[in-house]
């Protein structure tokens, strides 16, 4: 089967101007992936499905990944020359910026006709808060239908063009997206006599008001 670079070149030859980039995958598994831009993702997907030498007709797995905002500290060294003629003074300036996170959807494609694979596609949203739309690949591979619903349910990615985008695992009135890294669970099990570790951290976070003092029993209604 072709390497991801070859696939990218053929996609660009067929659909010039499409946003396709190869993302290297470190580690022994070496499953490199193609990062697609949302605008022409569906056209690229259809090409991958219909191309006679690829025939990627089977989308096996759709995964959502949450990459939270990261604080990036950049250190710049500024060297100012010494007016007295000595060695220049080097000062370090640290700039902090927030690199916005994103929600990523990873598709694993195989070919049942030609029995090869996988080809890995990635789509990323612009940010995690308000621009969370991505094109749905369900019109290309029907196997994405339930899996994209699950990514919507647990991560909050809105798939445009999905035939039936509703929650699939949680109930319809549920308001959160639980698989996100910043999801806080409801406080419903910290009834341990000696909370410690993660349980204590969660209990401390959820506790509304501190009790009166040591030995006071906290009776919750």
């Amino acid at each position: 089967m072709e390497t991801p670079e070859e696939i990218r070149d053929r996609v660009l030859a067929r659909l010039p101007g499409a946003a396709v980039a190869v993302v290297a995958n470190p580690g022994p598994a070496a499953q490199h992936s193609l990062l697609l831009g949302p605008a022409d993702a569906r056209a690229v997907a259809a090409f991958l499905r219909d191309d006679p030498s690829l025939r990627l007709d089977y989308c096996s797995n759709v995964t959502g990944v949450d990459w939270p905002d990261k604080e990036v500290v950049e250190t710049t060294k500024v060297s100012t020359p010494d007016p007295a003629g000595g060695p220049p003074r080097v000062t370090e300036a640290k700039t902090r910026r927030i690199q916005p996170g994103c929600l990523e959807v990873v598709y694993h494609l195989y070919s049942m006709a030609l029995k090869h694979g996988p080809v890995v596609l990635r789509l990323r949203t612009a940010n995690r808060s308000d621009q969370v739309e991505l094109p749905s690949l369900t019109p290309v591979w029907r196997s994405c239908e339930f899996q994209e619903r699950e990514v919507f349910d647990l991560f909050g990615v809105v798939f445009s063009g999905h035939p039936d985008l509703r929650r699939i695992l949680m109930w319809d009135g549920f308001a959160d997206h639980p698989m996100r890294r910043d999801y806080v669970e409801p406080d419903d099990y910290e009834w341990e006599p000696t909370p410690h570790g993660d349980v204590l951290a969660k209990a401390t976070r959820h506790r509304a008001a501190a009790p009166a003092g040591p030995g006071a029993t906290e009776a919750r209604p």
């Binding site: 909370p195 003092g213 906290e218 009776a219």
Partner: protein
């Protein structure tokens, strides 16, 4: 909760055995009533997760729950006596479990089979996992295990039978449905935006009081 000890029966067990050998059965209404209830406990065909497979195995030929009186697993709650909550109760499923419990007519019993039904089990850190079915309905027997062996379920059934035989028709040892102030139907929780509402039934389950020191 101390009660005066029951009066010693006027007829001893040896004398009753002797009478039985002559074809005369001497018993009390209470004993007959408990015998009937304990030897024909029909479970509801209700399995949630992995423990359900061990429950099915307990009803199969090797372990055979039928010889204890649980001949059939009834699909309809109206015809069942025993709710074996086998498997993880999720918050999405909890209202249905409580509804089924309400639909079962008295006398009814409940097993919490497996670690998940007792307290949430290995999935305790779950946003969708109810940390034990005893938050909403009263449980008679807790069966630990993940999953408990079918023999453990049979042991629980035997223990339930002993519990039923120890009940009396009046007084504090009477079963729930013969006590005038006990609840009949349990409120069904609703789906909230983040959790079930209410997250627990305070009449059934109170969290153990914990001493949380300031800053601890």
């Amino acid at each position: 909760m101390t009660e005066p000890a029951p009066p010693s029966p006027p007829v001893t067990d040896d004398e009753r055995a002797e009478l039985r050998r002559h074809g005369i059965l001497l018993t009390s209404i209470e004993e007959l009533y408990n015998w009937g209830r304990s030897n024909s406990v029909w479970p509801l065909q209700f399995g949630l997760a992995c423990c359900a497979i061990e429950m099915i195995a307990a009803s199969m030929a090797r372990f055979d729950i039928a010889r204890f009186g649980s001949e059939v697993f009834r699909p309809s709650p109206r015809q069942a006596d025993l709710l074996i909550v086998s498997g993880t109760v999720t918050k999405k499923m909890a209202p249905q479990v409580v509804r089924l419990w309400n639909q079962m007519p008295e006398p009814k019993y409940c097993f919490a089979m497996g670690a998940c039904a007792i307290s949430g089990g290995p999935f305790k850190q779950g946003y969708n996992v109810l940390k034990g079915i005893d938050r909403y309905i009263p449980v008679d027997i807790y069966i630990p295990g993940c999953p408990p062996r079918p023999e453990a379920l049979l042991h629980a059934l035997i223990t339930l039978q002993e519990k039923i035989r120890g009940q009396s028709l009046s007084g504090r040892a009477a079963p729930r449905f013969l006590q005038p102030d006990a609840a009949c139907a349990y409120p069904v929780p609703e789906f909230g935006a983040h959790d079930l509402e209410p997250p627990r039934n305070p009449e059934v389950w109170q969290p153990p009081a914990t001493a949380r020191k300031e800053g601890a």
